[in-house]
Amino acid sequence: MRTLHDDEQFEFELLADLAGVDTGTEMWVVYHLWSPRSSDWLRVVAAGLSREDPRVPSVTFIWKGAEWAEREAYDMFGIIFEGNRDLRRIYMPPDYTSFPLRKDFLLPDDAARSPGEGVRHVEQTFQPAEQLRQPVLRRAELGSTMPGSAVELEAGTEKTP
């Protein structure tokens, strides 16, 4: 990606789209790039990510604007972009645990389209990576000045005379 962006032969300066895809068996991340030099589209597909723990390096170091696109892909598919500084949910509420655009996430009215099968209950088995489910504890030294930090949570119920 770095080469595609910087190399004088390519100069794909514009990230036109960043899409997550769940094919049912694996995860993809699809990038569409545009170069003002040659006026070409380029589609880059990062295929073959495992559905259990999809991880892909972030491109926010090249395109700052990819940050929200990656957050959206994380929110909808659970794809983890390593190196994104702000990888949290963007559309769904923060305490939401599923990933809605995955193929095993079924809408309640799916049953209407498959007569005889009834409503299919599917356990959401996917767990995001351990590191992301934990709060950022290494920032705990900010301590009392940062409301909601780990240090404060421990002391939250303490009563002051």
Binding site: L14, A19, V30, W41, R88, D109, R139, S149, L153, P161
Partner: protein, 407 residues
């Protein structure tokens, strides 16, 4: 240990002091920060405070909540909170067939729906490798350009409103209402048209539409001059937009901003010319650009675009061919398996769609890329350092639409 909120007397025992409980009025979320950026944002330095703006606020242009970190009147950082309009359109599209996707995509860009409803239509046509009748192509271009004018006209009004002027908004709405009524007589709807179809358009041009259009075209250029003359040399307007919110070329590209905001920074990137679709290669129009990249340049650029759109409409009306408006395809349509990426130039930038089909009558994946989403992200980089009132004006000059941001 006490919190920043201080202590209050306990309700159970007035002799005991407890931490002030967090209330819904606190902008601070009740969980520990989960990312580096969040930890950085919610760490307040001396003299800073958090100010919650929205989700219901007249100048946020929709249901957007922004947590501002302010130092006095000056914004030092901000954290937009999205999702208040999230409907899961992509998931709904996957669960309906391709024809349903047209009406589902309509309310994404509710100011210019003709562009968002083109997404499933154009991608299905590309997957089918379908040639649509020329008359249908011309009608589509006509509707797109009319809708672009309506959207830009509204933009001018909103920008002036956020700077404290009410009159241009009223003028903008008069113009927009004429176009919207015109399109209503063609499509049957004022805002969410549901007009494009896979293989053509829904209805042919009718007399009512054409007479309204002719009436409007005869004075459109004059009306535009009247409206913009209110602002172009208005001292207050110019001083509050010139040099404000400068988005230079490299930053705009790094932030994936497209459309008028990118062209105002000097990059002549317009999908209509860079990757021509429909009948745009046959039409004669220019791509206006500006170099300064400030709010004023973005305003002037949109005015120029309205002029170009009027030129396009003029040509389309002169060259409108006769013939059918729908290609001969079956009603129940199965799209061949494949992947397609299409994009159109919407009033807010490159509106693109990455569609995957598995050969059934439903889209397997319909990823919709809305330019407003990336524009709003750029707002987060332009606001810091400005006064609160000015940052709202900068946001208006970038023109995001929340329907598309939240999908």
């Amino acid at each position: 240990m006490t919190t920043d909120r201080g202590t209050v007397r306990s309700l159970d025992d007035p002799n005991i002091w407890v931490d002030t409980p967090a209330t819904i009025f606190d902008a601070v979320p009740p969980y520990p920060p989960r990312t580096e950026r969040e930890a950085e944002f919610y760490h307040l330095r001396d003299g800073e405070m958090l100010l919650n703006l929205g989700p219901q606020h007249p100048s946020t242009h929709g249901v957007l909540r922004i947590v501002l970190k302010v130092d006095g009147e000056r914004v030092t950082d901000l954290d937009p909170v999205l999702g208040y309009l999230h409907r899961g359109v992509e998931k709904i599209c996957e669960n309906g067939d391709w024809h349903h996707a047209i009406s589902n995509c309509d309310p994404l860009e509710y100011v210019a729906s003709m562009f968002s409803e083109a997404m499933p239509v154009l991608s299905a046509e590309k997957l089918l490798d379908l040639q649509i009748p020329r008359r249908a192509e011309y009608i589509r271009v006509l509707c797109w350009e009319l809708n672009r004018i309506a959207s830009h006209g509204l933009f001018i009004g909103w920008l002036a409103l956020d700077l404290g002027g009410l009159t241009p908004l009223l003028y903008g709405f008069i113009e927009r209402d004429r176009i919207v009524e015109m399109l209503a007589s063609l499509t049957g709807q004022r805002m969410l048209f549901n007009y494009l179809r896979i293989g053509g358009v829904n209805r042919d041009l009718n007399h009512d539409f054409l007479s309204r259009l002719g009436d409007w075209m005869s004075k459109a250029a004059v009306e535009l001059e009247n409206e913009t003359r209110l602002l172009n040399e208005n001292e207050i307007f110019v001083r509050r937009t010139k040099g404000m919110g400068v988005l230079d070329r490299d930053t705009a590209l790094r932030l994936c901003v497209t459309g008028p905001n990118l062209r105002a920074a000097g990059v002549p990137y317009d999908v209509r010319r860079a990757h021509p679709y429909s009948v745009y290669p046959e039409l004669d129009f220019d791509i206006p650009t500006r170099d300064t990249g400030d709010s004023y340049a973005r305003y002037l650029l949109r005015v120029d675009e309205i002029r170009e759109s009027i030129r396009i409409i003029d040509q389309v009306l002169h060259e409108m061919p006769d013939g059918p408006i729908m290609a001969k395809i079956p009603r129940m349509i199965r799209i061949p398996p494949g992947r397609a990426f299409i994009s159109v130039e919407s009033p807010r930038g490159q509106y693109s769609c990455y569609a995957m089909s598995d050969g059934s009558d439903q889209p397997f994946r319909l990823r919709i890329h809305d330019p407003s989403y990336f524009t709003l992200q750029a707002v987060g980089h332009l606001m810091p350092g400005n006064l609160i009132a000015d940052s709202m004006a900068i946001m208006a000059s970038l023109d995001p639409v929340m329907g598309g941001v939240d999908k």
